[in-house]
């Protein structure tokens, strides 16, 4: 029951919208200004989580603080994810630096590497939040990575394309959440 409650916590679509927004910004940033711009935008989206949740979700979904055991598990999961993300980011950097005809990594693989790493991150997000749909997003992001390698497109384009399902589904979920919330927020006649 606690696990079901925790999974339902993420059902409003805000997480999907924020992750989708971050990936779209990173993808477009990559296409416009290269890798640094894409990486710089990431912390901005993380910072947005608390104020947006407080303003857009909490008044309608209510506030809950989970038990210490759950908080501890979340903190450990986030730390492990951050460590893995940093490791994979470093691997990406090495891949980019050593790519090309004279390098050790084939340039074509690098095109799909960012989206592949993000797909892995989305699987971790699914495991951390208990939201099965993130496995679906991960699958679509992985498909975008494969297409990027296959057609040799820009890595940013693969990230941006993989972000679209998150934004669309997140938007639909949030709309549904707000519509459903009317029953709780409007005074009983």
């Amino acid at each position: 029951m606690e696990a079901a409650l925790f999974a339902a916590y993420w059902d409003d679509g805000l997480l999907d919208l924020l992750v989708g927004g971050a990936l779209l910004a990173a993808g477009v940033g990559w296409l416009i200004g290269g890798t640094p711009m894409a990486l710089v935008s990431a912390p901005f989206w993380v910072v947005l989580w608390v104020p947006l949740r407080r303003r857009l979700v909490e008044p309608y979904a209510g506030y809950v603080r989970y038990c210490r055991e759950r908080q501890r598990r979340n903190a450990h999961g986030l730390l492990a994810t951050a460590a893995l993300g940093a490791g994979l980011g470093a691997a990406l950097l090495v891949g980019v630096l050593f790519a090309g005809p004279t390098g050790t990594v084939p340039a074509t693989w690098v095109a799909g590497l960012p989206a592949g790493i993000v797909a892995f991150g989305l699987v971790l997000a699914a495991l951390l939040t208990g939201s099965v749909r993130f496995h679906g997003y991960a699958g679509l992001m992985l498909a975008a990575a494969v297409v990027a390698v296959w057609w040799c497109v820009e890595p940013g384009a693969a990230l941006a394309a993989g972000a679209l399902p998150l934004l669309v589904n997140g938007g639909l979920r949030y709309t549904h959440f707000r519509r459903e919330s009317r029953a709780y927020t409007e005074p009983t006649p």
Binding site: L5, R54, E58, A61, Y63, V64, Y184, T188
Partner: protein, 104 residues
Amino acid sequence: MARKEVLPEVDSLIHEPARLRVLALLTRVDEADFMFILRQTGLSRGNLSVQMTRLEEAGIVALKRELNGARVRTSYRLTPTSRDRLAQYRATMEGLLAGLPRGP
């Protein structure tokens, strides 16, 4: 001379279905506000308000008000003493239910 009862008495304050659902929810989280409990239990606003007042008056839940931006957040949590009462209720119910036939 009063007759000694074989069957234990059920704690009616906890046993009421709406309150039992609220308590089952609060045992699984650290604290939750009125809106969260309302959505998760599916009770009406009026009913939940009455049940929360009963539980608070009985000392089973504690109310906490804190400022959250421009709004006041009212959240509930189980009191430390309520754990014993809930454990006693569970033991009583398990004893009573043990004799009932099991489902298919």
